[in-house]
């Protein structure tokens, strides 16, 4: 005989199942409609926001349906499964060891042969590494020099050379050596300072004619362009890790992780009145590397 509360329980369960079936069906049909709508949107030319939303509804509808199906209608358990110990019996292990050993009666000089095989494989491995060398050029001198040469005109990215009048006091420009506006390692920032406020650091006399100072634009920390200049403080900022360089003091770093000043480019004006370099940077530009001092 069935107790009345059992009948009741079976009744609510049936009701719950009914509700679940309804919601699952709703989930699947919403998904189908969203997919149709997605096709229509795509056909009409597409629209990113709608596409994303409709795709989400199409996927989400099935997700909800399946999720409810699993949690409400499918066998729930909990089921218990035994867990065998992972390792096998000791005899298996011994047999595996023996199998690994392979030859139970090795020739006398097996270890010698194995060593020779090892040497041959190692040599082959080394030989196989050589194609890696083809991937790039030898580091060589490239890191130590740029395209600036004595007398090279300083031009803008568009290729325009500069005269004194092209830069006001307080202004700055990014310049390249003429003919090499694509040379990333040669990018130089030229700032025109008031001649009265700037004094050449020792050993760099005459490098900044009429207040035009040039510094490598490549941060000595990790190579970002030192792109921001604050005129009031005469400081150059690197936006990558916030190194700060003092323009009036040879671009020495005063904050941030940079350890070295930006190298200075010796500048001058040629006979036609154009801004030129009077030589290359006297040290490697950009980030450090282990043998940087071994030019």
């Amino acid at each position: 005989m069935t107790e009345p509360n059992e009948i009741e329980a079976a009744g609510t369960e049936r009701n719950q199942q009914k509700a679940a079936v309804r919601w699952i069906a709703i989930g699947f049909s919403v998904s189908a409609f969203a997919s149709l709508a997605l096709a229509v949107v795509y056909f009409l030319g597409g629209q990113p926001q709608l596409e994303g939303t409709l795709l989400a509804i199409a996927l989400g509808g099935i997700a909800v349906g399946l999720g409810l199906w699993a949690s409400e209608l499918l066998p729930k358990g909990p089921f218990v499964e035994g867990r065998k110990t992972l390792h096998d019996a000791p005899v298996d292990r011994h047999e595996a060891e023996a199998a690994f050993e392979g030859d139970p009666e090795p020739v006398e000089r097996r270890s010698f042969l194995l060593k020779m095989l090892g040497a041959a494989v190692a040599a082959l491995g080394v030989a196989a590494l050589f194609p890696i060398r083809s991937l790039g050029v030898r580091p060589g001198r490239e890191l130590y020099k740029t395209h600036w040469t004595p007398g090279a005109r300083a031009v803008t990215r568009a290729g325009t050379p500069l005269t004194v009048n092209d830069l006001d006091v307080g202004g700055l420009l990014t310049v390249f050596p003429e003919g090499h506006v694509d040379a990333a390692d040669s990018q130089t920032i030229v700032i025109r300072l008031d001649e009265g406020e700037y004094e050449d650091p020792p050993g760099r006399e005459g490098w900044a004619p009429q207040g035009f100072v040039g510094y490598s634009k490549i941060c000595t920390h990790a190579g970002c362009p030192v792109g921001l200049y604050q005129q009031e403080t005469r400081e150059l900022f690197c936006p990558c890790h916030q190194s700060v360089f003092k323009v009036l003091e040879g671009a020495e770093p005063t904050a941030g992780p940079a350890t070295r000043p930006l190298p200075q480019l010796p500048l001058g004006f040629d006979d036609d009145g154009y801004l030129v370099a009077t030589g290359d940077f006297t040290e490697p530009v950009g980030p450090g590397f282990w043998d940087r001092d071994h030019d």
């Binding site: 939303t53 795709l55 997700a63 699993a70 035994g82 920390h221 936006p239 770093p253 350890t259």
Partner: protein, 447 residues
């Protein structure tokens, strides 16, 4: 139908007993076991959307004039790579959504892996016999981060170009082999033309294949070893309690996959990510400001920013500044991660296999160490936006940096100690939850 299918398979493969075992395999139901699955499904989404993107992307730095429908850039000289990404975003139907889903899924992929790793760590699921899967998991995290970086470097926009430049400098900073490494990887001095094409091969072939293979191994080992389980009534070291693979667990899991896909689709449709048209094409003398990488690179970026202006110089040689935060720190981080199961086994002298999990409070020292470590990396992560914080609070960046330097060293021990006391107190009081724990248990855990 089913009968005929099973008979057909059995007659050809002898698969019946395997199929029966597989379909009846029991999986525990705890929600935290789903996190790894989220990572798996994010990877599936990455492959699906990635295949679509790869049909349009051009891995070349050759110059073309942009003539697509994004007006502000019309007539500008850009690389073919950038041009193809612009075309995908503006002129290929559904291209933008695919791109954005792909990027969001990548962020989710790595996030899910990190959370999964935390779950494994704090519950001691890495203990014997699961060390191999721990090692595979750490490798997957490493590969995921690496492929995320190569991926967002591909569009050749100003932000990713800045990232590549820093990567070149980091490679340069390695003692002895740095210059060669940088020149071989990039093909020469920065900005080398070959790099985009190379990154493409690495990003769409080599690393995904490795990730796919390792995931297969991860799952096969999991299958063989079976899931761990939380202690509870009826759960022992010698059983697994939960749902059967077929049909309940399979339906749940497919539902999860679709849900993850739905969330990334919604994000990809509604929340803009990596708008390369706003950054502009890469130019070596320009830089985007502010420049923050994707979130999973934040800790390295933060370390680069917090590192004081020190470097080692001796005998005319130097170990440049970026080496310490960007090579040494990640190196140590992953070394410790790889070694952790073995280190802990050594400290605790526990060489037994375990299938029942620890609760965080059961191992106060491990939990405290984990919390302190997470704190360290979280502070580094936030330090990656020291410039934005300084701007927001209207203070000097140097001030913010100094505060972070103090926090990154000071906060982890504090957090570790507090967590240690809390765990001890929780364990001693026998309370179920934090809220039920008497304060005295924290203050005097011994009583």
């Amino acid at each position: 139908m089913i009968k005929r299918f099973v008979r057909g398979m059995d007659e050809r493969l002898g698969a019946s007993s395997f199929a029966r075992q597989a379909l009846n395999k029991v999986f525990p139901d705890h929600w935290s076991f789903m996190i790894g699955e989220i990572a798996l499904y994010a990877f599936v989404i990455l492959v699906l959307t990635g295949v679509f993107l790869s049909l349009f992307f051009e891995g070349s730095t050759g110059e073309v004039v942009y003539e697509g429908s994004y007006e502000p850039l019309q007539g500008v000289e850009v690389s073919r790579a950038y041009n193809s990404v612009m075309e995908l975003s503006y002129d290929v139907r559904a291209g933008l959504v695919m791109r954005q889903i792909h990027h969001w899924a990548a962020l989710l992929f790595i996030a899910a892996m990190v959370v999964h790793l935390c779950r494994i760590f704090f519950t001691g699921a890495f203990r014997k016999p699961r060390e191999i899967n721990w090692i595979i998991g750490v490798t997957l995290l490493l590969l995921g981060i690496f492929n995320g970086f190569t991926g967002y470097s591909l569009p050749d926009d100003l932000l990713s170009g800045t990232g590549l430049r820093i990567a070149h400098s980091i490679a340069l900073s390695v003692p002895l082999v740095g210059t060669w490494t940088a020149f071989l990887v990039f093909g020469g001095e920065f900005p080398a033309e070959d790099i985009i094409g190379r990154l493409l091969v690495v990003h769409i072939m080599i690393v995904p294949a490795a990730i796919g293979g390792l995931i297969a191994a991860h799952l096969a080992i999991l299958w063989r070893q079976k899931h761990t389980d939380f202690p509870g009534p009826g759960r022992t070291e010698t059983n697994v309690v939960g749902s059967k693979l077929w049909p309940t667990y399979a339906a749940k899991s497919v539902s999860l996959f679709l849900a993850v896909f739905a969330v990334t689709a919604l994000l990809g449709g509604l929340v803009q990510i990596n708008p390369v048209w706003l950054y502009g094409p890469f130019r070596p003398e320009q830089v985007s400001s502010p420049a923050q990488p994707d979130w999973y690179m934040g800790w390295v970026e933060g370390a680069l920013r917090l590192m004081p202006a020190w470097e080692l110089r001796a005998f005319g040689f130097e170990i440049p500044n970026p080496f310490y935060p960007a090579v040494l720190l990640p190196g140590i981080t992953f070394l410790l991660l790889y070694a952790w199961p073995f280190l802990e086994a050594r400290f605790t002298k526990d060489l037994e296999p375990h299938h029942l999990l620890d609760r965080a409070r059961d191992q106060p020292a491990r939990t405290a160490l984990g919390a302190a470590t997470l704190t360290f990396y979280t502070v580094l992560f936030f330090a990656a936006s020291n410039d934005l914080i300084a701007k927001l609070l209207e203070v000097r960046v140097e001030t913010v940096t100094t505060i972070y330097r103090i926090l990154v060293l000071g906060l982890p021990p504090v957090v570790g100690y507090v967590v240690f006391r809390l765990m001890k107190g929780l364990l001693a009081s026998g309370a179920e939850r934090f809220t039920q724990m008497p304060l005295s248990a924290v203050l005097h855990p011994r009583r």
